[in-house]
């Protein structure tokens, strides 16, 4: 029985994390693995934290990732990256979109937005930060940030790119397909290195 792998996707309501996790889980299913996904999206549209847990392997029982056992965290926003960092495995990888979205307590001045990236780098070593919005804009549609990040994730997953592209084609409306395929490729082509954190 192979080891179960765990991916945590975190972000802010409205950022498109749910579509990204749908594509990811279909890809995993296509390559013949058992997949379980747990989504807490109670008030996702109202800008709260959104978390999706994806687990896959030969046999998966629980849909919930055990504490400190995420192999990869894909964070759509920096504060959410810091919030969920405790879920990361010692050797795990955290991929972060360099975007800041202030939560209400920060907006009203009740508290401050912490220094996220430095704190993350002090705590774990495999950190990669990209500007997905810029990449999405270059791909022709600012709304494809989620697919850029999915492309970045794919780079660390060792699954044939064809499967990803095929699944994106099945998932997104034809009107936006070209922009999404370009966005995926842009994320996949990221050249920045890991290992910017502590050693």
């Amino acid at each position: 029985m192979g080891q179960t792998k765990n991916i945590l996707i975190v972000g802010v309501g409205g950022q498109g994390t749910i579509l990204a996790s749908r594509v990811l889980s279909s890809v995993l299913q296509k390559i013949g693995l058992e997949v379980k996904v747990s989504e807490i999206h109670g008030m996702a549209q109202r800008g709260g934290s959104v978390v999706t847990q994806v687990r896959y392997g030969q046999k998966v029982a629980s849909p919930i990732i055990p504490e400190g056992q995420a192999d990869i965290i894909l964070a759509f926003e920096k504060l959410e990256a810091l919030r969920w960092l405790t879920c990361l495995k010692e050797e795990g990888i955290i991929l972060i979109n360099d975007q800041r979205i202030d939560p209400m307590p920060v907006i009203i001045g009740a508290t401050e937005y912490p220094d996220t990236l430095d704190n993350i780098r002090q705590r774990t070593k495999n950190v990669l930060v990209i500007d997905a919005l810029k990449a999405a804009q270059e791909a022709g549609n600012a709304k494809t940030v989620n697919i850029v990040l999915l492309g970045l994730l794919a780079k660390f997953m060792d699954i044939d790119q064809v499967v990803w592209l095929e699944t994106i084609e099945e998932t997104v409306p034809p009107k936006f397909l070209q922009a999404n395929l370009k966005a995926f490729k842009a994320g996949f082509a990221t050249t920045e290195n890991l290992n910017l954190g502590k050693d």
Partner: protein, 592 residues
């Protein structure tokens, strides 16, 4: 070939209903149950409806079932409180074709006002409860529930929790079984529950329960899995999956039918293990029954009664008993969390029509009895404008009660706020009470043309059905007038000056009044207005605009800035700015 598909528990239940030949599906939305009906509505063979509330949903469902068609009725846990009245007596009459009630419980309260344990309803109404542990079982158990319902002539509860409803796993897709409409025969003794007929029916219920208890002993989905004998675990629902993951070597009794419980099977399992645990979320429902039977068992002495039980808790509590090195035993640096991470609560959207109303209410320093919907967010800082939120519809009754307790003077500074869907769900009776019992309450109906909180379901106020057909709209002003309210006024909540004047006028009136604040939910608006911007040189740094809680307004140094990509140009901030520093992009000086 058997197709497999990744489905959420809710999608799987809809699929199961379809495969089971269901033709009627009714519901009132509520997280985490909503997608069951949304998905059932996609099948052409199924008539689906959003009912005005859960009681009506169950009544339509029972009519369909007595009429001979298999019916699925879905709701969140608190919805069953609303539907409890028909449920208890439906247990007496029984059904004709199968009726399954899905109760979606929410341990941990991801999106609910309480975390009641609805297994008590099964026991109290004396009807069976099935609990699936993943999507495949969600589908299978839905089908089994219909079989049981018809075999025992009883409604059946399919109890799920958020983690089952909103987790995806692989499901085998099977074809639909066409179930012919059952014959309908008039049967007064069975279906007319007045005392003379109900007394014998109560006996039928008790006999049925005895038969169900016997049946539970051999029900193939209650499964004893004997492994190492040191620990035996009784579990159902998603907790069973956690146990398999965390303690794969433990002997396990997986319960699919959690009411009535299989006594002999439980006794047998208890005799085969050294220490027995029941791991159940929320109340000690199974544990208490075991103890009543004299079976020695650990439960709430080890596991929490509050909130969800997560795999980690099981590992911590029972892992050491196995002397096993648990894989997460060593805590690493990254696991040391960063202190004081700002929370990210949900907020009203930019341009939300509710915002202005709460701005006015807090400005006037009113007492506000609230209700449930997106507008409950008006209780959060910085608006902090709501005093009470209990259950759907409670705002109006609570306002009447406050007035009766504290007098008319107090009522001059008191309003009830209630959403359109909530008003239809259970506000109308409160309104009639206000009129009938001569309260002077002011009620604000927040009509955003949708049921926003649960994901924008259509409702009787907006004139569209779940199947996307147009239908008649409820005429709210006429409805209120027919109830005897003389003072009914409609207002656009973006016109703050007018809104404020109207609120003051209606508070002063010594009779009940209804203010209908009407504007579409911002998430449904297609074409937004030009965004606003802050003219930095004119901003005096008073930060008054930050008091409205719009997420687009960002503090920068001593002044503010507007996030133009999110702003929808509702002008609320411009209205509250005392120096006229906020204007539409491109607008000339001094105009806004």
């Amino acid at each position: 070939m058997l197709m497999k598909k990744l489905l959420t528990g809710n999608e799987a239940i809809a699929r199961g209903a379809w495969e089971a030949g269901v033709t009627v599906c009714t519901a009132y939305p509520g997280t985490p149950s909503t997608e069951i009906t949304e998905n059932a509505a996609l099948y052409n063979e199924i008539y689906a409806e959003w009912s005005p509330n859960e009681k009506v949903a169950l009544e339509v469902g029972l009519g369909a079932a007595i009429g001979g068609a298999r019916a699925l009725v879905a709701m969140k846990h608190v919805g069953v409180n609303v539907a409890a009245d028909p449920l208890f007596t439906l247990s007496y009459t029984g059904i004709n074709a199968g009726l399954v009630l899905v109760s979606a419980d929410d341990p941990g309260m991801h999106s609910s006002q309480n975390e009641q344990d609805n297994r008590h309803f099964g026991k109290a109404a004396k009807i069976p409860i099935l609990e699936p542990s993943d999507s495949q079982e969600a589908k299978e158990f839905t089908k089994i529930a219909f079989e049981l319902s018809e075999a025992f002539d009883t409604p059946v509860i399919l109890r799920i929790t958020t983690r089952v409803a909103h987790s995806q796993s692989l499901v085998d897709l099977e074809p639909r079984q066409e179930i012919p409409l059952r014959k309908y025969e008039k049967n007064i003794q069975k279906y007319v529950m007045m005392p003379g007929f109900a007394r014998p029916r109560h006996r039928v219920v008790e006999n049925r329960l005895e038969k169900l208890k016997e049946y539970a002993e051999t029900f193939p989905f209650n499964r004893m899995e004997l492994r190492r004998p040191e620990i035996g675990i009784i579990a159902s629902g998603v907790v069973y999956q956690y146990v398999r993951e965390v303690l794969p070597d433990a002997s396990t009794l997986k319960l699919a039918l959690t009411y009535p419980l299989p006594r002999k099977l439980l006794e047998e399992f208890a005799s085969k293990v050294e220490r027995l645990f029941v791991i159940e979320e929320l109340d000690p429902f199974i544990e208490e029954q075991l103890k009543a039977w004299g079976i020695e068992v650990h439960g709430k002495d080890t596991f929490p009664i509050v909130g969800e039980i997560l795999p980690e808790t099981i590992r911590q509590k029972l892992g050491p008993l196995f002397n096993e090195e648990s894989p997460t035993a060593k805590v690493q640096d990254s696991c040391v969390s960063f202190p004081n991470i700002p929370v990210r609560p949900p907020v009203m959207c930019p341009g939300c029509p509710h915002r202005g109303v709460f701005y006015v209410l807090q400005k006037l320093k009113l007492t506000v009895t609230g209700d449930i919907g997106c507008y409950t967010l008006g209780a959060q800082a910085p608006l902090s404008a709501i005093d009470t939120t209990i259950c759907m519809g409670a705002s109006i009754g609570a306002a009447i009660g406050m007035e009766k307790a504290r007098g008319k003077e107090f009522a001059r500074r008191l309003v009830a706020v209630i959403g359109d869907s909530t008003f239809i769900h259970s506000g109308i009776t409160g309104l009639i009470d206000a009129v009938y019992n001569k309260a002077t309450t002011t009620i604000i109906i927040l009509d955003n043309r949708t049921t926003a909180m649960t994901g924008h379901q259509d409702n009787p106020v907006n004139g569209r059905t779940i199947k996307g057909e147009t239908t008649k709209e409820v005429n709210l002003p006429l409805l209120c007038k027919a109830a005897g309210v003389n003072r009914v006024v409609e207002v656009d909540p973006f016109d703050l000056a007018k809104l404020e004047t109207i609120v003051k006028e209606e508070l002063a009136a010594e009779e009940p009044s209804v203010i209908i604040s009407k504007r579409q939910c911002a998430l449904l608006v297609k074409n937004f207005d030009t965004p606003c911007q802050v003219i930095t040189e004119e901003c005096i740094g008073c930060l008054r605009c930050m008091k409205i809680g719009c997420p687009c307004i960002i503090k920068e140094g001593k002044k503010v800035r507007i996030n133009a990509t999110q702003c929808v140009g509702c002008n609320l901030c411009a209205y509250v700015c005392p120096s006229g520093a906020i204007r539409k992009e491109g607008a000339a000086n001094g105009s806004n």
